[in-house]
């Protein structure tokens, strides 16, 4: 179900819990699917003893992927024309993430209705781990 311009207003939001108690195994799963085998994400020994971090941490792109699930659940499949994010804090095993999308602008371009959306993903401490923006094609 796509969003409708006639029923949407600036400030409308949609949020979802996109992961609860993130596991190291899910990070491994993401490494395997994406092809990014950086040991910072999957190798606790390297990451703590050589790189100097308290533990492995998620790929930023996993957070983007988790957030995209919330976004496409809201705007519909194949509706995005633009999706961009900034990674602001690391995501660790055990984290629970809530992602929120907010309508920032509604516009029309060449007869196509579009919604500009801002994105925010926060962890269980309310700390923002990712911010972003997206644009989706919506129905009239």
């Amino acid at each position: 179900m796509a969003l409708q311009a006639s029923k949407l207003k600036i400030g409308d939001t949609h949020g979802e819990r996109v992961v609860e108690n993130l596991t190291r195994t899910q990070i491994v799963q993401y490494a395997g699917a994406s092809g990014d085998y950086n040991p910072l994400h999957t190798d606790e020994i390297y990451t703590t003893k050589v790189a100097g971090y308290p533990s492995v941490f998620a790929h930023g792109m996993l957070t983007m992927g988790l957030t995209s699930k919330m976004l496409t659940n809201w705007v519909g499949d194949g509706r995005l024309t633009r999706f961009g994010v900034r990674f602001t804090n690391q995501v660790w095993p055990g984290d629970t993430l809530d992602a929120t999308a907010t309508v920032a602008a509604l516009r029309e371009e060449g007869g196509q209705h579009l919604a500009d959306i801002t994105l925010s993903t926060v962890n269980q401490d309310g700390r923002e781990v990712m911010t972003g923006t997206a644009t989706a094609r919506i129905d009239p």
């Binding site: 699917a33 994406s34 050589v50 992927g65 699930k69 496409t72 194949g78």
Partner: protein, 160 residues
């Protein structure tokens, strides 16, 4: 930079969707996807990142017979590796001209973008580097434009 050929396959899309915890049938159920708005399976929005699988020289994948900087007998398989954090991903932006589908054979070509520096309390001097990748389909049509910003830090990012 060399062009990378990236065949988009249904099983790869399914595995990628699983990894991000997305159970939407449009990523794994051909019949359900066909009946929906997209008319078939499409790739999730951040899927093109998996082009790394098709880069023969991708440096973040262990290769047979070559030392790997992750742990084995010792915490790192590469002697004298600096304890710096190396590169981190700062930003990622996609522009979709359409969404990739199984059967597409994409060609990815990357060019460098802007470079800039910033001082940070948590990690020292930060150097940002932009890379722009265009994904074109088998007909030469632009499918996705991706802009990635990487950051190298002077020291590991302080926590807290």
């Amino acid at each position: 930079m060399a062009k990378i050929t990236f065949p988009v396959e249904a099983s790869h899309i399914m595995m990628f969707a699983r990894a991000i915890g997305d159970t939407n049938p449009v990523y794994h159920d051909a019949a359900a996807a066909k009946a929906g708005e997209t008319g078939g399976i499409i790739a999730p929005p951040s899927f093109v990142q998996a082009v790394a699988q098709f880069d023969p020289d991708y440096f973040l994948r262990p290769k047979p017979g070559q030392p790997w900087f992750g742990s084995g007998k010792t915490p790192s398989g590469v002697e004298g590796k600096a304890a710096s954090s190396g590169g981190l991903h700062a930003e990622q932006h996609y522009e979709y001209h359409r969404h990739p589908r199984p059967g597409d054979v994409l060609t990815a070509e990357t060019r460098p973008g802007k470079t800039w520096e910033k001082e940070s309390k948590r990690a020292g001097k930060l150097t940002f580097r932009e890379r722009i990748t265009e994904y074109r389909d088998q007909n030469g049509e632009l499918v996705v434009t991706a802009t990635s910003v990487g950051v190298t830090t002077e020291r590991p990012v302080a926590q807290g």
